[in-house]
């Protein structure tokens, strides 16, 4: 049987940060690993991101933040995910996030934050292992 189901990953840049090199490289690399990647571009609000996640029925939301505003944006997205019952969606992130903030975020429900320099394969394997809905 031709398998139809693909893992869908939303890559978003919340807030005002315009550094999109990492997000774009990751989107393209995940595509080459067989994922369907919805890339929203820069200047997204938490509302934009969660709405997109719902309409696109994604398995993963990945936030890319290099502006220092990570605590605020992740908190907002987590709040909206909870409010909308997005329980089966994995939330991950990447960018400039100090270790203690990373711990805080993981305790709040972010599955993982990837440092600059993380090999893409590590990210794609993490996704495959941790998505909450089976691939069938």
């Amino acid at each position: 049987m031709i398998k139809m189901r693909k893992i869908r990953v939303l890559i978003a840049k919340p807030g005002l940060d315009g550094h999109d090199r990492g997000a774009k490289v990751l989107a393209r690399a995940l595509m080459e690993e067989g994922f369907e990647v919805i890339y929203t571009g820069i200047h997204q609000t938490a509302e934009d991101i969660v709405r997109t996640a719902i309409e696109e029925d994604v398995d993963v939301i990945g936030l890319s933040i290099l502006s220092g505003a990570h605590m605020y944006h992740f908190t907002r997205v987590l709040e909206l995910m909870k409010k909308n019952n997005l329980n089966d969606v994995l939330l991950i992130g990447g960018g400039i996030v100090p270790t203690d903030d990373k711990e805080k975020l993981k305790n709040m429900g972010v599955a993982e934050i990837f440092m600059p320099g993380t090999p893409i394969k590590e990210i794609s394997e993490f996704i495959r292992k941790n998505i909450k809905r089976p691939l069938e």
Binding site: M1, G34, V37
Partner: protein, 305 residues
């Protein structure tokens, strides 16, 4: 089957189901088609399709219509993955509840739409969306596919800048009902209009394709574009062509489902065996017939290929 047609979460899961093959849901969708107006938009990268769609959607939303937008991007023939980036230019729609944007990949069908895109369209139709806009890259095959699904096909061009050569492809001229020269403020737009004019011929159904210049980013002439689209839909209605279009759509759907089954068999070891036999001592006709028989038997027995 459907609890709340306004619950986007539910709708979203249904789309995933039908996109991944669900005969029952496909049937339900067909039986509940309410008569949405389907608009196909095609054009090369950089022609401003997403901006035009966003502005058009706003116009329909202002009429209190429910709008669904399907953005189609090609999947990688190697990995099967895809980058779906059409939403980027449609941020302004996030303020509205009555619009739904979904990104689809061609799921391995090179240059075309995925097997079950028509089913997704039917689903939106059945869920009460008044306007369904489908956006594709315009690579060739998907334009032909769009023609089978949409009531109106809109082809977007831009003025030719500098030395580059922009080829107007034959296929586009045949399927386009409305031609748009977007970014009309950025180059010799009238030249492009004339170029298109020379290539247009009236359609078999009597419709004379129309041309319009727009500057979508400034919302210029989008009203005119919308009027032309609605005019075309009215033309189909008044000439009793809507039923014909629906039959075309369903035929296309059946063919896609058939293709899915066929491709499944061709991916299996069965087809390897048939190929080996053909090389040895069988002939082409009987090989094909054998395949058809397997397909038929399988379905006769409620098989699952």
């Amino acid at each position: 089957m459907i609890n709340d047609v306004n619950n986007k979460m539910e709708i979203s899961k249904l789309i995933t189901k039908i996109e991944n093959h669900d005969d029952e849901l496909s049937t339900w969708a067909i039986k509940n088609i309410k008569g949405a107006q389907i608009i196909g938009i095609t054009g090369v990268f950089g022609s401003g399709k997403s901006t035009i769609i966003s502005k058009l959607a706003l116009k329909y939303l202002a009429e209190n219509k429910k709008v669904a937008i399907l953005g189609i991007d090609p999947s990688s023939p190697f990995s099967g993955g895809a980058v779906l980036g059409d939403r980027i230019r449609m941020k302004e729609l996030n303020k509205y509840d009555n619009v739904y944007v979904r990104s689809l990949s061609s799921r391995g069908k090179i240059g075309g739409l995925s097997y079950f895109t028509a089913d997704v369209v039917n689903l939106f139709d059945a869920l009460g969306y008044d306007i369904i806009i489908i956006e594709t890259v315009g690579s060739g095959q998907d334009e032909v596919d769009i023609y089978n699904i949409a009531h109106t096909v809109v082809v977007i061009h831009v003025p030719t800048l500098g030395d580059e050569v922009q080829v107007i492809k034959a296929g586009q001229m045949e399927i386009g009902d409305i031609f748009v020269v977007n970014k009309a403020d950025q180059g010799p737009a009238d030249e492009k209009v004339r170029e298109i004019e020379t290539l247009i011929t009236p359609k078999n159904n009597g419709w004379s394709p129309k041309i319009v210049k727009t500057v979508a980013i400034r919302n210029q002439n989008i009203d005119e574009l919308k009027n032309l689209i609605d005019e075309h839909y009215k033309f189909l209605k008044e000439n009793n062509l809507l039923k014909e279009k629906l039959i075309l759509r369903i035929k296309y759907l059946i063919k896609q489902h058939l293709n899915y089954k066929l491709d499944n068999i061709m991916n299996s070891t069965l087809s390897d065996q048939i190929a080996e036999k053909l090389l040895k001592d069988k002939d082409v006709k009987s090989s094909v017939n054998e395949l058809l028989k397997i397909l038929g038997d399988n379905y006769g027995k409620g098989g699952n290929i």
